[in-house]
């Protein structure tokens, strides 16, 4: 028998009592190139289960998305009233060389809205690869602590800390983590996240 | 007179030389007469025929067919005159190979725009013993049959003059005799004035008169 889903009403048929955490991000969150189960959000879900915590992980990754879409997508994912939204947006801004002021403004608007709507948010620290130039690298990475401070949100460490630039942990494109990479990403995020749950 | 030739001369220019083929030739053929013109190869039989048929021009003299001179006729007038007054029987039959016997026979009438019925044509075929061959093409007929058909075609327009060019020349002797029997029977019955050009003296003897073409004139 086929169950019929309606898009607008179907935000995840999970146990209603479980608390929800949404990963709002780009291709890294989507798990570009790896199966959904092998991407870090689902790996974290497994860890949560193993730790017998009552949390449901929702992955809202969209490849190629930039910080400009953060606010509208934040509104979309919070319709389901998650406990925490973990924002991992901005990598594509950096990779495309967008102005850092623009990225900061976009993220700031989303954080402002979250503050107004009392939505708990964790902001993920992001970097651009060093080849973009020290100047840009520095400017880009500085926006995250500044925003965290301004909007009083928790700042999570860089998720690709142990993965970026390591050929064995990345796919052929050198940017997206492979299955092994995602395991490490999940480990490092969970190490941080466990304290927050 | 059906055919009168007076003082007919014809020569060809070959290089710098002028070759006289016919020299002051005279001939009178009365109506319904059958005459033979015999001569050795190269004596000018073909030239003689071409001139009488109005297919070629001549240097001097006159040809009258049915008392009309053909000298002053234009090409188109000659074509019309020829179709209406002269019938032909060729050594090589010259039938149209892709048309049936019936169609070959009716073609001259159609060209002249004369009315006819299928029965007319079939009757004519009957007369030359080809009634059963009406729907056959020349390629499916024997040489004798072809020449009989050609004979019927030569007579179908009721010409005032029939020109026959070695009609049996392309047939074996037995068939030749049979065809020529039919030939004489037909021209005599239809009272058609006939000039038979041949080198066969036996055949010539069956005509009313024999002219021998020699040194460019008839004897």
């Amino acid at each position: 028998m086929l169950k019929i889903f309606f898009f607008t009403t179907l935000l995840i048929s999970q146990i209603a009592f479980a608390k929800k955490i949404v990963f709002l991000g780009d291709s890294l969150t989507e798990g570009y190139g790896v199966a959904q189960e092998a991407a870090f959000p689902q790996l974290i879900q497994k860890k949560i289960k193993a730790d017998k915590l009552d949390w449901t992980v929702i992955s809202a990754g969209s490849s190629g998305s930039t910080s400009a879409s953060t606010l509208s997508r934040l509104k979309w994912v919070t319709k389901d009233k998650p406990e925490i939204v973990f924002i991992l947006m901005g990598s594509n801004d950096g990779l495309r060389g967008l102005k850092v002021e623009e990225t900061e403004k976009n993220l700031g608007q989303a954080l402002q809205w979250a503050k107004e709507n009392k939505q708990r948010v964790i902001l993920g620290q992001l970097f651009v690869p060093p080849n973009y130039g020290k100047n840009y690298e520095k400017k880009f990475s500085e926006i995250f602590p500044r925003l965290a401070k301004k909007y009083k949100v928790t700042l999570a460490p860089f998720l690709l800390e142990k993965v970026a630039g390591k050929p064995t942990l990345n796919q052929a494109d050198g940017i997206h983590p492979n299955e092994k990479g995602h395991l490490i990403v999940a480990d490092s995020i969970y190490a941080f996240l466990k304290k927050e749950l | 007179m059906s055919l009168t030739i007076k003082n007919l001369s014809k020569s060809y220019q070959t290089g710098s030389e002028k070759l006289a083929i016919l020299k002051h030739l005279n001939l009178e053929v009365p109506s319904s007469a059958v005459v033979a013109v015999v001569g050795a190869s190269g004596s000018g039989k073909s030239t003689f025929l071409s001139l009488v048929a109005g297919l070629d021009s001549f240097d001097e003299g006159e040809i009258l067919i049915n008392n009309q001179t053909i000298k002053n006729l234009s090409r188109a007038e000659m074509t019309k005159f020829r179709a209406e007054n002269i019938g032909f029987v060729f050594q090589q039959f010259h039938l149209i190979s892709h048309l049936t016997a019936f169609e070959n026979l009716s073609l001259p009438l159609e060209i002249l725009n004369r009315s006819f019925t299928a029965a007319d044509i079939l009757a004519r075929l009957e007369q030359v013993g080809l009634h059963h061959r009406a729907e056959h093409k020349p390629t499916e007929m024997s040489g004798g049959e072809c020449q009989r058909l050609a004979l019927a075609r030569g007579l179908i327009t009721q010409p005032s003059l029939l020109l026959a060019d070695e009609p049996s020349g392309n047939l074996d002797s037995e068939t030749g005799v049979k065809v020529m029997n039919l030939f004489f029977e037909q021209v005599r019955r239809t009272k058609t004035t006939t000039v038979l050009v041949t080198h066969d003296m036996e055949l010539a003897k069956r005509c009313d008169r024999i002219f021998v073409l020699k040194d460019g004139s008839l004897h």
Binding site: Y32, P167 | A76
Partner: protein
């Protein structure tokens, strides 16, 4: 009898029939010249294709990965590659900074050896390493207002702006990336510190091999050594395949044109030989009565054909030698094609083989008749129809097999060749039946007309064999004349948009939902046009018919590159779009697409792109489960679409109806077409107001490849006209011989009283009828054949070139009339006296 005597007899007869002999020689020479020239053009084109591939790749074999290679790795593979030259470069993204501004650029870090084939075209001066210099795409120069000797920063080093990149051969057929290109010399890489731990870059090694190396085998060996699936190994052959689909179509097309030209001439030659034979029958019969054996008569005729063939061949080679320099200058100067026309030994050998074997082979049916010909024929009035014995069919099969082999050689494809030859045979059979049917109808209706018309029509219907031959040949000639332009126009429409107005200048993506209407306003203000926005919704395919779709990867990693690629493809996620209508560049090929989802209780009915559906393994009626950013949803495939990707419009594999995805997180794409003039102003305004929106200027890339295609198709047109002129020549020859055949009959009809005008009218009616039905059926079947060829061989959709058809008709009709006019000339010499003289 000695060979010398035979030769003498042969030559004497050839001279006696000198008119026909020279006709035959002319015919074969023309066919061979057509074939040879096309052949040269095609080969030069493929050579050029290969060169282009080398230029695009930068060498013969390339090894690259988005990581650094170790010394040891490089040493192992270099042991297997017998290279003569090598070059090493990096490609990475970095910010290029001036004192006031910064832009993302794609940096190419090259050594002095690059490229191994082709050349950079840079403004001002060549690529040099005398100091830290940078060359940039004109786009960057414009935006940053760079002047020569300005200093810019890339990474941690300073570079002197030294000019713009005018032409980078490696990017000729590749799409634009979202960052403009800049070039620096590898000597300054270290100083720039662009490559550090964590950097994303690709490292490339390119090798030039000595000529005549088996590149595929070398590539194979290297693939075996390099175990890491991340490393890409590319060879010229691969790059030829993907970047030159266009050229492949062109060369296939040229091959067919060449064969058609040759086939037509051989058909015509075959007809001429048969026709000649009819007139020579008598002399053969005479030879026979003189006691010449069949074998010797055969020798005489083979010798004659051989002489004709050799003479034609020599004339052809001589002629081509003479015109080649002229053609070269035409190709270079007129059509601006970078093609070097050259004759290689192989083509010379092939041409000679074809030129000599062809006529000899065509003599075979006549030779078979020699054996059957009786001396008796001399005395018979009737002509014996050629009996088709076993040997004849064997000959036919053999000739076909040879023609097929030639087609394979020419088109480099068994499939193309078989389709081509099969279609040809099918058409010939079809034409002969069609002809019989039309003749039957004509004969039936003839009774209604005047005697002249009736007589004229009978002249056709009663000569079934001869009429059929003319009909088939003329129809076939018309068919190919009309077929080629359809092929050409379809190929062109496949590789380039029909309307230049639709060629986009800019691509805009990452447009947020709330930015759509302000952007539309800018467009209306600045461009005075409405843009079409295509929504893009990211998702993953979870299941197809309840079977998991994604590939879980074991810890052991991937066995092969193919399995990795397949898994990555499946796990990559897909872009969905929604719309209530199909785009002009899309055609439904199966099922229905309703546009709007009306019944909320039903599954959304979606449409998939045909080839994508095939790759994913989905049929109509299948259920697909998507994950749209955390939300699962199911949809049913209700239709398949064909998408013309060369429309250069945003196209999607998966299309949803309206009423399903509107609320899902999405971005929008749009493109701005060329006709709108103030595009620059629009671009500036967009960049200023919507900083997140990426604007890519694609005009240059698209224009470049379009220009190339246009030049190419001009060259092709020239070649096609060569085939067309061959066809027209065949036309004229056929008419001429047909009219000659009727001369004696016309003499008789004239003596029976038909006027010259009537005779001319009768002949005219015959040819008018014959030609109009041949041309009509040729054109009609050309349309059908084009459809079949394009659908099954080229696999592209058919675009008929109606304009050309009209043009063709406008050309064939006057030429036919001219041909009839000249063909009727002998009628003026009609001389009924011949009837008497023959006696």
């Amino acid at each position: 009898m000695k060979l010398k005597t035979l030769l003498k007899l042969s030559v004497l007869e050839l001279i006696r029939f000198r008119k026909i002999t020279s006709f035959l020689i002319f015919n074969f020479t023309l066919g061979l010249v057509g074939f040879f020239l096309l052949q040269i053009f095609q080969q030069s084109l493929s050579a050029q294709t290969a060169e282009k591939a080398q230029v695009v790749l930068g060498g013969d074999i390339s090894i690259n990965a988005r990581r650094a290679f170790s010394e040891a790795e490089i040493k192992t593979w270099e042991a297997e590659i017998p290279f003569t030259e090598k070059t090493h470069f990096y490609s990475l993204f970095s910010m290029l900074r001036t004192k006031t501004d910064a832009r993302l650029t794609s940096v190419g870090v090259f050594d002095s050896n690059y490229p191994l084939y082709g050349k950079f075209k840079l403004s001002n001066q060549g690529f040099s390493s005398d100091k830290a210099r940078v060359w940039v795409d004109p786009e960057i120069q414009e935006i940053l207002e760079l002047k020569l000797a300005d200093l810019v920063d890339i990474g941690e080093a300073q570079f002197e702006y030294s000019g713009t990149i005018v032409e980078d051969p490696s990017r000729l057929f590749r799409g634009a990336g979202f960052a403009p290109r800049v070039l620096i010399h590898s000597n300054y890489l270290a100083a720039s510190q662009l490559i550090k731990p964590g950097s994303t870059f690709s490292e490339n090694w390119i090798y030039k091999l000595p000529p005549k190396q088996n590149i595929a085998a070398i590539k194979n060996k290297v693939e075996k050594i390099i175990k890491d699936p991340v490393v890409q190994i590319e060879s010229v052959a691969d790059s030829e395949q993907d970047s030159n689909r266009v050229l492949k179509y062109f060369t296939d097309y040229l091959g067919l044109v060449a064969l058609v030209a040759l086939g037509l001439c051989f058909l015509c030659g075959s007809y001429l030989l048969q026709w000649t034979f009819q007139t020579k029958k008598k002399s053969i019969a005479i030879f026979k009565t003189l006691g010449l054996s069949d074998r010797k008569i055969l020798a005489i005729y083979l010798l004659q054909s051989l002489i004709i063939a050799v003479v034609s061949c020599l004339l052809c080679i001589l002629f081509v030698r003479l015109v080649l320099p002229g053609m070269q200058s035409l190709v270079t100067n007129q059509f601006q094609l970078p093609i070097e026309l050259s004759v290689d030994l192989l083509s010379l050998i092939i041409i000679s083989l074809v030129g000599i074997m062809g006529p000899l082979l065509m003599t075979v049916p006549q030779i078979l008749q020699i054996f059957e010909l009786q001396a008796l024929e001399l005395f018979q009035n009737a002509s014996i129809d050629t009996r088709r014995n076993k040997l004849y069919y064997f000959w036919l099969a053999f000739s076909l097999a040879l023609f097929w082999a030639l087609s394979v050689w020419q088109s480099h494809s068994v499939k193309v060749a078989s389709g081509f030859v099969g279609a040809l045979v099918f058409l010939i059979i079809l034409f002969s039946y069609l002809n019989r049917f039309i003749l039957f109808l004509l004969e039936k209706s003839a009774a209604r007309f005047s005697w002249l018309t009736r007589y004229a029509i009978k002249g056709l219907t009663r000569r079934a064999a001869s009429t059929s031959l003319v009909f088939t040949t003329m129809s076939l000639a018309t068919l190919v004349l009309s077929l080629l332009p359809h092929l050409k126009s379809s190929i062109l429409s496949e590789i380039r948009p029909q309307q230049t107005s639709q060629i986009p200048q800019l691509f805009l993506f990452d447009i947020q939902p709330e930015q759509v209407s302000p952007l539309q306003k800018i467009s209306e203000n600045v461009l005075a046009a409405k843009l079409k926005f295509s929504p893009l919704v990211r998702s993953r395919i979870l299941k197809i018919n309840d079977q998991p779709y994604e590939r879980i990867v074991q810890d052991t990693g991937f066995q092969t590159r193919e399995s990795e690629n397949e898994a990555r493809f499946r796990n990559r996620g897909v872009n969905l779009t929604y719309s209530d209508t199909l785009q002009p560049s899309e055609v439904l090929v199966a099922g229905t697409f309703s546009g709007v989802r009306t019944d909320q209780n039903e599954l959304p009915q979606i449409s998939l792109e045909e080839k994508y559906a095939e790759r994913v393994g989905v049929k109509i009626g299948d259920l697909m489960t998507f994950d749209v950013q955390g939300t699962e949803m199911q949809a049913q495939v209700s239709s398949l679409r064909q998408v013309r990707w060369t429309s250069f419009q945003p196209n999607f594999f998966i299309l949803f109806p309206k009423g399903v995805l509107e609320d899902a997180p999405q971005i929008f794409l749009t493109s701005v077409s060329q006709e709108m003039n103030p595009v620059k102003k629009f671009q500036q305004e967009v960049v200023q107001k919507f900083k997140n929106v990426s604007v890519i200027d694609v005009s240059k890339t698209i224009q470049n490849s379009l220009k190339y295609i246009d030049q190419m198709s001009l060259g092709l047109q020239m070649m096609a006209w060569l085939a067309v002129s061959v066809g027209l020549f065949v036309f004229i020859i056929l008419l001429n011989t047909q009219i000659r055949e009727r001369l004696q009959e016309m003499n008789l009809v004239q003596i029976l009283g038909a006027t010259e005008a009537q005779i001319r009218k009768a002949i005219f009616i015959q040819f008018f009828v014959l030609m109009s039905i041949s041309i009509a059926s040729g054109i009609l079947l050309g349309l059908i054949a084009a459809k079949l060829l394009l659908t099954f061989l080229f696999n592209i959709s058919t675009v008929y070139d109606w304009q050309y058809l009209v043009f063709l008709a406008g050309l064939i009709v006057p030429i036919s009339f001219l041909a009839i006019y000249f063909g009727l000339k002998p009628l003026q010499k009609l001389n009924p006296m011949d009837l008497i003289r023959q006696s």
